[in-house]
Symmetry: C2
Subunit: 560 residues, 2 copies
């Protein structure tokens, strides 16, 4: 008889584990237990199905050959038995069985295992708000959730309210191209509050506004308003009402851990299932992975709960190895998270600057607006890269990107450097592929690393947008030196009565016009010229000069 | 008086060095000597100007604000003096002067230096072929070369012959959308012979054929044929004639070293200027960088000559530091080279499999055809990644990509891993950004790393396209087991009388049809199913089974 492998959950971790086990052990008896009747589906694709980019929801159930991954598929291609519409209701560790319930027939029976794999995933948090069960209130977790939302849109829903400005909320912002109104409500003071640093959150928020999306921050939902059992709006904690015919609650997910808890398995500090580096629980015959477990953050060596499909796939391979006699470790994650918001690409890897400070680092950051490919090549688009390093060790700590340009793959380079504990010098020396259709001769990541090197050497002295904004709002006397060209200023004036304008090409000849005794903050479009101006002024003996990090491209406040 | 910095060459290395020096030393006297009258221009953009993607050649001379980088620009923005149309004719090390000649006025005079920087670049190799000076024979090195070619096209040239299938030759393949014929002639037996492994060269060659480009390999040009002083064609060493009204000679470049040689500076094994890790020649006051120097290849610790604009920019920063009191090292390069051929993206980083063997490694490779983004997301395109690792150490040695899909940024990830001496396990565990618009849940680089891990573990047993092709051409008896679906086979049949067809989903039930005594080679579209089939067969006791690496997507030979 073969090794009896039982897997609870058929979404991502389960099927991947099963496939890996089968490749290593032709004789294993592999069983997947799944509550629903769809398996191994592309749940990350649901926002794009709602948007209409993917016409048929079945596309998300199919592999790239058009085959639906159903019970027959798993049986014939992987020799894996799937019990669909079957819920695991109890793990009996002493007997090594799982008690399951057939949800259609009501039968309850036990399935024996030698090795058990927990891949129960996570569930969306369902806040207890009055009216949450009204028709028209949705969540987005499964394909059937997506179908419900899509049907509501097809039935005429056009006043959309999204509760929660996290990952799902952001991806949904672009999913309703025909809506008459889209409002997003977030309890915290920023969009993507746990991911991006404040200035990047503000840039994202500004972008949402340009897409006619109303962003309400620092506000809780009080109750959902209905009429005849159907949603008509929503009232916030500060008493404001927003009309709505479609509300999506996207306030995060929680790991499904009740089965594990009841079986006496250890739960971690993040409230997800605790596993060792072999993805093994405290019961040596029980492994767990995917959205129901916590991960080790490689940079801070702490447990974090960051559920992602790409991580689940890696877990599945590791578990598949280890329950078939292998000994494979999963080192951990960097929290790399990327998302598309309408036409903007955004994301983060490693630590944010705020997180870095909390962890005791002294971060130095660079904000580099840059075109994604050579600026003269057709289709070049701007994006902004923020790179963060530790001042003492020069080690890279993290990066964030935002913008229309291709920034996501730059994060991959930084994620790779983070995996290797690389420094800013390592990044600056990377031999990245350069040709005009793919990058600039000095790619954004190298440019950003050089800015940090300049800052650490004392050559570049930056002021952040927030710091300058605070100054502007004060009554202090200082100079904002705008070194852009006359036509740039005409198109996008920066208005403040402390502003002085000298185009960079004239600065060397007009130094006498600049007061040496005042603090000077140089600004331009991308900060390249503002930095050059800082160098010119410091070279001429001006000691109180700083350039605006990222300058106006990364400026998230009002400018006029 | 300030530090006198004299820089020979104003293309890429020179201006970058000058800018860096100025930022670090406001008092330095910086002088650039340049033969031509254009500076700091985007020579990498010339193929796209010829193609018509960039309308005005001046775009390549301008910065992103539309400012032409001329003498006035350098003077006002950088306080750098440029002597244009001035040729450096002698370096007098004893007196620390450079003798220069004003090419317009004929004046010859000496310019003193404290530190001298050599950035003379490279020149295209001009073979001594009969007819090479005929009107209509071009090279592509400068913007004026590009203008000449563009003018010839505008004047009706339409029968294009490109001599040399290297980087410039490849980029030019897409530059003549209205040509009536395009022929590329290469002395070696492969396109991009020194960059790609043979099977990737063949794939690129096949692609060129689909674009109606005639590829003539293993053939030298005997003479260029003319009439009335104008080119009319070309004759090869095997006596074949090709009509042509525009010929571009693109047989590589050679570093400009005569000034250095005459001054007694050391020349390296690659015939380029030899520098240490500070970019310093054997004269401590003379530095060199850009296309006239050789670099250290980081993987093999040998000198190589790989001139690239991105490297020149890095050199410039390092030299700028070191001639102003700094101590910055340039560690070396990985030979990362990327290029666009019509709609295909292609490139390489690190070592090819052939190079790895020559260097004494025992390479294990994976060929992974994969979509660049989730296959269900609109716009997903296929590309093929080849990843190479050392069997003993599991260290990554290199990678190559080719295809319509975005593969270039995957090379950047591998280049980053190479910089950190990472292993296949490191790559497999990378926390890369995943969302459907950006990648597959298991990205191509991770997928490829897993294939190599499977091969090293003995779980996956591959046969290369070339090995199978040799077998097919023999009289040997074996089975090619095609596990694709019926409709796939109908669309793209693989014809051989040793072929047997069993779709993967039926294989487990039809094992008795497969002869256990014969060698079996499994094939499918991307090798995912062929590998699965190998596992099924080996699980059933078949011991002589291998799957076709990369399967039919990466198959460069005839299939029917």
């Amino acid at each position: 008889m073969g090794n009896k492998i039982v897997i609870i959950g058929g979404a991502a971790l389960g099927p991947k584990t099963a496939a890996r086990v089968r490749r290593r052990d032709p004789d294993a008896e592999i069983t997947i237990i799944e509550r629903n009747d769809v398996y191994s589906y592309a749940s990350c694709g649901t926002p794009f199905y709602i948007e209409g980019l993917i016409q048929d929801h079945k596309t998300l159930l199919r592999n790239n050959l058009g085959q639906i991954r159903d019970e027959t598929f798993f049986k014939s291609q992987k020799d894996v038995k799937i019990y669909g519409r079957t819920e695991a209701i109890k793990i009996n560790r002493a007997w090594r069985t799982v008690t399951v319930k057939d949800l259609d027939k009501g039968w309850i029976y036990d399935i024996p295992y030698n090795k058990l794999v927990l891949g129960m995933g996570a569930s969306p948090v369902q806040p207890s708000i009055e009216g949450i069960n009204l028709k028209g209130v949705h969540r987005l977790h499964t394909i059937s959730d997506a179908i419900s939302i899509k049907n509501a849109v097809n039935d005429g829903a056009e006043k959309i309210v999204i509760v929660g400005a996290g990952l799902i909320g952001m991806e949904l912002c672009g999913a309703f191209p025909k809506a008459s109104s889209i409002t997003i409500i977030e309890m915290m003071n920023f969009v993507m509050p746990n991911l991006l640093d404040p200035e990047f959150s503000l840039l994202l928020q500004n972008y949402l506004k340009t897409k006619n999306i109303q962003v309400i921050l620092g506000t809780k939902v009080q109750k959902i308003l209905g009429k005849d059992g159907k949603v008509i709006g929503l009232e916030t904690s500060n008493g404001v009402s927003y009309p709505a015919d479609l509300i999506i609650i996207a306030v995060g997910v929680r790991p499904n851990t009740s089965l594990a808890t009841e079986a006496g398995l250890d739960i971690g500090v993040t409230k997800a299932i605790k596993v060792n580096e072999f993805m093994q629980t405290n019961d040596p015959d029980i492994y767990a992975g995917g959205d129901c477990v916590e991960n080790t953050h490689l940079l801070i060596n702490k447990k974090v709960y960051i559920p992602l499909g790409s991580t689940a796939n890696k877990h599945g391979r590791v578990i598949g190895d280890n329950i078939t006699g292998g000994s494979t470790k999963f080192p951990g994650i960097l929290g790399t998270t990327v998302f598309k918001v309408a036409e903007f690409n955004a994301g983060k890897t490693g630590l944010s600057e705020e997180e870095a400070k909390k962890e005791g680092f002294t971060p130095v950051s660079a904000i580099a607006p840059r075109t994604d490919i050579s600026d003269y090549y057709p289709g070049a688009k701007m994006f902004i890269l923020k790179l963060i390093a530790d001042k003492a060790s020069k080690k890279i700590l993290g990066a964030q990107v935002i913008g229309a340009g291709e920034g996501i793959k730059r994060l991959d380079v930084i994620a790779t450097i983070l995996s290797c504990s690389g420094t800013v010098d390592d990044v600056a020396n990377l031999d990245l592929g350069y040709a005009p259709p793919y990058s600039t001769a000095i790619d954004a990541v190298i440019h950003a690393a050089n800015i940090i090197r300049n800052k650490i050497e004392g050559l570049a002295n930056g002021i952040t947008a927030n710091e300058l904004w605070q100054k502007i709002q004060s009554m202090d006397d200082f100079i904002i030196l705008d070194v852009r060209t006359v036509s740039e200023i005409k198109n996008q004036p920066f208005i403040d009565n402390r502003l002085q304008h000298i185009p960079l090409e004239e600065l060397r000849y007009r130094l006498r016009e600049v007061n040496k005794n005042k603090e000077i903050f140089t600004i331009c479009k991308t900060s390249v010229r503002a930095y050059e101006a800082e160098r010119i002024l410091r070279g001429a003996g001006y000691n109180k000069v700083k350039f605006l990090d990222g300058s106006l491209t990364a400026w998230p406040y009002q400018i006029n």
